[in-house]
């Protein structure tokens, strides 16, 4: 067992591999997908070079520092090093705008996420067959079912320590094993959601969270410090891959972690097979690492970008893009939010961000909407954001505003809705024809506009969120429903979709690129549809499943 202190300190670089020797696998990205793939491949006996563009952060970096971490985005992919452009529609010229946000660090966004770990439900995999499509959306079934993924959901829960209670909800998918850890301590927002759900005839469920509620595998249980959403965990209780998968991969003796290395292309030979990767190291020197196979797990923005940057005469439209599907169908999940003021102290700033959820709105087809979603009640941000998000009516400065701050900060609960979002072909990631980042590489260009059907569904979910706040006893509520420009995307999904048809998808059901036998792509980009708002658990289960199958293929010489 790896001691907590060691996990919090990072694990160094691990074993060293020669760049000229073809390593079994290069894994690009150490986040939820890449960290998991690296750990699983090493367990199967394969050697892995794990390349991460961000740094290893350690406990000394983890403070309750809202200014650095939230307001200044200390861990994120921010300019001027990272450059993006955005446009609403494909006929427009893109302008500089930072649209896709992710943590640029070992562990990726799992090092600072809120850690909601919902499994998908069976309908998320075959909604198209069950419910049909929507004009203007490229709905399709996944090439796998919930039941095929279920063993990997369970494996993830036990590998990293997910807290929850299964079997409470009759509508959840089949579960082969109970959660390894009980739910986190119930908080004020959690109780308010229980009250609201009861009034509306709905069911408040213990939230599945990738935060250890008790000590687990040498890590601390949650100490309820409250600085969870957006913050790395000083206690090591949050089950991100920086504390779980990556240290375990390194401890195997079969993995080398190279940080602050920016991959600029996946190289192929004249047979169309991957031979390795080319990257800039932390001193921005170009390095070529040879590999027998490559796992691309760079996230739904960077993964398609790297495929486009890896084009060649054999792959003129980008590597693995004979289908034309690379970069298309970008999805973020819909996200609605409203706030309520309550009579007594909620003190949501203590404890886990989410302890109860409501999923009675998971399937809204019978309400005239496509898709659906769920709700949580959560704390109203750390103090600066809380102060900036007080009710819009009334004075916004001066003595009366000070009174508002004094009274409300501890008496607010938010209700957040998390929803499906339709795959739209024109919502896409590609390369900007002009802008470049600080490595001189083409910038990500995002084209994004909400689908009308989704906007109607978000309005419905927003209204139900306000209903929940009122049912919980809110004295007043505030907030706005989402508009057609989400402003930022943090769940980066759908841009290299899985499928059985090589003409309609980028990877097969085992995450092998249809066009390149030794290239594997697994992260949020693999999603065919968006799920209902909490994708990380499914990204991780896909990574466990992909690594197991591909690891076996490799042993049998079938890659």
């Amino acid at each position: 067992m790896i001691p907590l202190k060691s996990r919090l300190a990072g694990q160094g670089q691990g074993r060293r591999f020669d760049t000229n020797d073809a390593v079994d696998f290069v894994v690009i990205g150490s986040g939820t997908a890449g960290g998991s793939v690296a750990r699983e491949l090493t367990r199967l006996g394969h050697n892995v070079v794990l390349i991460e563009q961000g740094k290893t952060y350690t406990r000394a970096d983890f403070q309750h520092d809202e200014l650095a971490i939230v307001l200044n985005n200390q861990y994120a992919n921010t300019p001027p090093a990272h450059i993006q452009t955005w446009r609403k529609t494909p006929d427009a010229k893109a302008k500089p705008r930072h649209y896709l946000l992710y943590a640029n660090a070992v562990g990726g966004s799992s090092m600072h996420y809120a850690a909601n770990y919902w499994r998908f439900r069976p309908i998320d995999f075959n909604e198209f067959s069950l419910k049909g499509g929507v004009p203007g959306a490229a709905m399709a079934d996944w090439p796998i079912t919930y039941d095929e993924l279920e063993p990997y959901y369970t494996a993830v829960e036990w590998a990293i320590g997910v807290s929850g209670r299964g079997g409470v909800d009759p509508d959840e998918g089949r579960r082969s094993r109970q959660y390894p850890l009980p739910p986190l301590d119930l908080t004020g927002p959690g109780v308010l959601l229980e009250i609201a759900a009861k009034k509306l005839g709905w069911r408040a469920l213990p939230a599945p969270m990738a935060i250890a509620s008790r000590p687990y595998k040498g890590r601390e249980g949650c100490h309820n410090c409250g600085f969870c959403w957006n913050f790395p965990c000083e206690w090591g209780a949050k089950s991100g891959t920086n504390f779980t998968m990556v240290p375990e991969a390194l401890a195997s003796g079969r993995c080398e972690l190279r940080t602050e290395c920016k991959v600029r292309m996946v190289e192929t030979d004249d047979r169309g097979r991957v031979t390795g990767v080319v990257y800039f190291d932390r001193d921005r020197r170009e390095v070529r690492q040879r590999a027998r196979a490559v796992f691309l797990c760079a996230n739904g923005g960077e993964t398609p970008r790297l495929l486009f940057m890896s084009k060649s005469s054999r792959f003129p439209d980008g590597l693995a893009n004979s289908s034309g599907m690379v970069g298309k169908h970008l999805m973020f999940n819909g996200n609605t939010g409203a706030a309520g003021e309550f009579a007594h102290e909620v003190n949501g700033y203590k404890g886990a961000p989410v302890t109860r959820i409501v999923l009675d709105t998971y399937d809204l087809h019978d309400k005239g909407h496509y898709g659906g979603g769920g709700f949580d009640f959560r704390y109203p941000f750390p103090p600066v954001l809380s102060a900036l998000n007080m009710p819009p009516e009334g004075p916004q400065w001066g003595s009366a505003f000070k009174q508002t701050l004094r009274r409300l900060h501890t008496r607010i609960s938010h209700c957040w809705g998390h929803t499906s979002q339709l795959p739209v072909a024109t919502n896409a990631v590609d390369l900007d024809p002009e802008a470049t980042d600080s490595w001189g590489l083409p910038a990500i260009r995002v084209t994004y506009k909400e689908h009308e059907a989704d906007l109607r569904m978000y309005q419905y979910m927003f209204d139900r969120g306000v209903d929940l706040l009122k049912a919980a006893g809110a004295l007043r509520t505030w907030g706005e429903p989402p508009g057609d420009d989400p402003g930022v995307g943090v769940h980066l999904l759908g841009t290299c979709r899985m499928g059985n048809d090589p003409g309609e998808s980028v990877v097969d059901k085992f995450h092998r690129a249809h066009d390149v036998p030794n290239l594997f792509i697994c992260d949020g980009s693999s999603f065919v549809t968006s799920g209902r708002g909490q994708p990380t658990m499914t990204i991780m289960a896909l990574a466990f499943r992909a690594a197991e199958h591909i690891g076996r293929f490799a042993r049998r010489g079938e890659i």
Binding site: Q63, H64, D65, E66, L67, L71, N72, N73, Q74, T78, P79, P80, A81, N104, Y113, L186, T187, G188, V191, I195, K198, H223, N224, C225, W229, E234, F332, N335, T336, G337, F342, H344, V346, N347, G351, P382, P383, V384, L385, S386, A387, L388, N389, W397, G398, S399, K402, L405, R406, H409, T410, W416, G479, P482, P486, G487, V488, V490, Q534, P535
Partner: protein
């Protein structure tokens, strides 16, 4: 941060200053943050960017955003030092909006109170009159944002002295809390509200 609502809300609320602070360079920001943290170890706060006269104006302004009453306000929390340090480091790009805003403020003061040029020389009621007259300007938005950021960021950045801001809003600073955390999750209250479902 798998939740976009907050960021959207935040960017909307923060206005131009916040949006640009969000997009500061990572390397420079890291150095700036280190620098800022180093600065706070000085026994006497020193000004880096603002002149003493400008600092008096900024402090007077911030003190009307979060006034002093029976509890400390922006003045006692040291918000002016937070703003000065920010303008020297992570929010260096924002110097023009503050400098131009402060220059213009002199005229705004004169327009409200004949013969006066300094906000800090006015009574609180007169100061409020002046601020109401510029409430819709980017400078006011930047000052409001910076005052709240200074009031509630960690004391190591110069403001929120002795956690005055956190104490104001009832946020305890601790690495660990034990349930029950608030009124609703106290078992007796939860039972009363939920009956047999508790």
């Amino acid at each position: 941060m798998p939740d976009s609502f907050s960021r959207r809300e935040f960017v909307a609320a923060a206005g131009s200053l916040g949006a640009i602070w969000l997009l500061a360079d990572a390397t420079e920001r890291g150095e700036a943050v280190d620098h800022a943290a180093h600065q706070v170890t000085q026994a006497q706060p020193a000004l880096s960017v603002l002149t003493p006269e400008q600092a008096a104006e900024v402090e007077a302004f911030a003190s009307r955003i979060i006034p002093t009453d029976e509890t400390p306000g922006a003045r006692e929390a040291g918000v002016v030092y937070f703003i000065d340090r920010g303008l020297a480091t992570w929010a260096k790009d924002q110097q023009p909006i503050f400098m131009e805003g402060l220059t213009k403020l002199s005229a705004d003061v004169g327009a409200k109170v004949r013969g006066q040029t300094r906000l800090s020389g006015l009574t609180p009621a007169q100061q409020d009159d002046v601020l109401r007259s510029i409430e819709q300007t980017p400078f006011f938005g930047a000052m409001r944002f910076a005052t709240l950021a200074g009031m509630f960021s960690l004391p190591s950045y110069g403001g929120n002295r002795d956690f005055a801001g956190w104490k104001l809003v009832g946020q305890e600073s601790a690495m660990e809390f034990k349930a029950p955390f608030g009124w609703y999750d106290q078992p007796a209250n939860r039972r009363a509200l939920l009956g047999g479902d508790a």
